[in-house]
């Protein structure tokens, strides 16, 4: 099973769609809302986005170690080999 | 251009180089700016969300809005990041040591 991490904002509609996608495909994921997270978690998310060479644009989906920034079902499917 | 659309704004000696001053002329809120011996006037209302530009900062010919830092060229009125967006600009003239603003010339 691939590890899926989703960074999101509580205010972002595409983040909700992304989560829905993984739910509907029965892929477990770990999601954190950046805007609701504590300071330390925010710093960690910031660093992780940077590590992937990306801006903090949400949804920020990491499948194993591949980042997909934005709501992109085809890219999710490709990485999940669905 | 009609002679009477020029409105007296301020005496030249009442402003120093690099100064900005909010004034109300015929009910219009304007910022007057003096750069060396030239005077410029633009609307005091930021095109973004209407904050008073006179409360911002001036660096050379660029004024920065205090609210979200949008920057405008005071000579052209153009927004630095996208010149399609402009703050209303008025023409000014100096005569007899007095500064006049043309309110008709807004744009």
């Amino acid at each position: 099973m691939k590890k899926v991490v989703i960074y999101a904002l509580s205010t972002c509609p595409w983040c909700m769609k992304a989560k829905k996608y993984f739910r509907e495909h029965d892929v477990p994921f770990e999601a954190t809302d950046y805007d609701k997270a504590d300071e330390a978690t925010q710093q960690a998310i910031k660093a992780d986005c940077k590590k992937h060479g990306e801006e903090m644009s949400f949804p920020f989906v990491i499948i194993d170690d591949n980042a997909v920034v934005g709501y992109a079902p085809e890219k999710y499917a490709r990485l999940l080999k669905l | 251009m009609q002679e009477d659309s020029w409105v007296f704004a301020i005496d030249v000696d009442d402003m120093v180089d690099g100064q900005m001053k909010p004034i109300s002329l015929d009910g219009q809120k304007i910022v007057l700016i003096r750069l060396e011996d030239e005077f410029y006037s633009i609307s005091n209302k930021c095109p973004h969300m209407g904050c008073p530009l006179s409360k911002g900062t001036l660096k050379n010919d660029v004024i920065k809005c205090p609210c979200h830092d949008w920057q405008f060229n005071i000579k052209t009125g153009q927004f630095i990041a996208a010149k399609e967006i402009t703050v209303t600009k008025y023409s000014t003239k100096v005569s007899d040591n007095k500064v006049f603003v043309n309110l008709e010339g807004g744009n």
Binding site: L9, P13, K46, S57, A72 | H48, A81, A82
Partner: protein, 113 residues
């Protein structure tokens, strides 16, 4: 202030700006409504209608470029997508916003090379 009233005010302020940049409101009125609602809420909490879909870093220079409409500061990137990151605004010729994918800044920069 009544959030519904503020929503309309933000819309009224922002529409002429995005119009002059070649954008219009997305035809997806549900998304539009939702996003303005978020902006009103964000403005209440943080003082400015920051982007509902991009993260604030706490550094003023970075964050002020994420106040709606942030198109002027991300013009090339958004023009390439024909939409802003959130999809609140789209290019004027766009009829079906669902056909416009989000492309990350990194992808966009790579595609330019």
């Amino acid at each position: 202030m009544d959030p519904e009233v503020r929503k309309e005010q933000l819309k009224e302020m922002f529409l002429p700006l995005v119009d002059s940049l070649g954008y219009k409101l997305s035809p997806d009125s549900e998304i539009v409504d939702f996003l303005f609602e978020q902006e009103v809420q964000i403005e209440k909490e943080k003082g400015s209608p920051f982007c509902p879909c991009q993260g604030l870093s706490g550094e003023r220079e970075h964050d002020m470029k994420l106040v709606c409409p942030c198109i002027p500061f991300h013009r090339e990137h958004y023009d390439a997508m024909k939409r802003c990151w959130c999809g609140l605004y789209v290019h004027k010729d766009v009829e079906d916003p669902d056909l416009l994918p989000q492309i990350s800044l990194k992808e966009f920069k790579m595609s330019k090379k």
